[in-house]
């Protein structure tokens, strides 16, 4: 499977601040997905990006796929306490490795 590194591992923000997490690969990705896991919950699919330079929005969440298809980002505008959780960008392929993700804490 394709190896993807995600940064940062942890992020604490004040409510209302923006937040960004990044996924980087040394090889070209066929696609990338993002999942969210709330504390005590299970991972839930958010979105899949396939095209080079693709940008998709879900309310305050903006997802980007790099032009070279080697990196992706998830940006949250004006975080809310409901954004708390861990965000994952798993590798694709048969193995589906999720890794450590980025854990977001939002301070009210």
């Amino acid at each position: 499977g394709q190896q993807v590194m995600q940064i940062p591992q942890y992020q604490h923000v004040q409510e209302g601040e923006d937040f960004t997490t990044y996924c980087n690969s040394s090889t070209t990705l066929s696609n990338i997905q993002w999942y969210k896991q709330r504390p005590g919950g299970h991972p839930v699919f958010l979105i899949q990006l396939v095209k080079s330079g693709e940008v998709k929005k879900q309310k305050r969440l903006t997802f980007q796929f790099g032009e070279a298809k080697k990196n992706s980002s998830l940006h949250i505008t004006a975080t809310q306490t409901t954004d708390v959780g861990t965000y994952f960008c798993p590798t694709t392929g048969n193995q589906f490795y999720f890794g450590t993700g980025t854990s977001l804490t939002v301070i009210p």
């Binding site: 696609n31 997905q33 999942y35 299970h42 991972p43 839930v44 699919f45 899949q48 861990t86 994952f88 798993p90 694709t92 048969n94 193995q95 589906f96 490795y97 999720f98 890794g99 450590t100 993700g101 854990s103």
Partner: protein, 110 residues
């Protein structure tokens, strides 16, 4: 549709005991996965299956076994439970690279 169902939700095992974590899906997805998640950590892949009769090891397969006799079911067997296997276990089914997770099984080995 129930999606992915895991049973039990909670279990306490004594060291050396064995048990099977059940996972069943009603979405007819070929790909299924077992993960473990230790407190405050990410997901580690234990085993996966690309279809009935086919299974393969993930990152952390030691101490576990799986079988996939049907598309629907993908049980995870723990033999000789150890405290290091205390974790939350998630089963997932996937199609078109989109994974659907069960609610998880919280296992404690004492």
């Amino acid at each position: 549709n129930a999606g992915v169902t895991q049973t039990p939700k909670f279990r306490i095992l004594k060291i050396g005991q064995s048990m099977t974590l059940q996972c069943t899906q009603d979405m007819n997805h070929n790909y299924m996965y077992w993960y473990r998640q230790d407190p405050g950590m990410g997901l580690k892949l234990i085993y996966y299956s690309v279809g009935a009769g086919i299974t393969d090891k993930g990152e952390v397969p030691n101490g576990y076994n799986v079988s996939r006799s049907t598309t629907e079911d993908f049980p995870l067997r723990l033999e000789l439970a150890a405290p290091s296997q205390t974790s939350v276990y998630f089963c997932a089914a996937a199609r078109d690279l989109r994974a659907f997770f069960g609610q998880g099984t919280r296992l404690t080995v004492v």
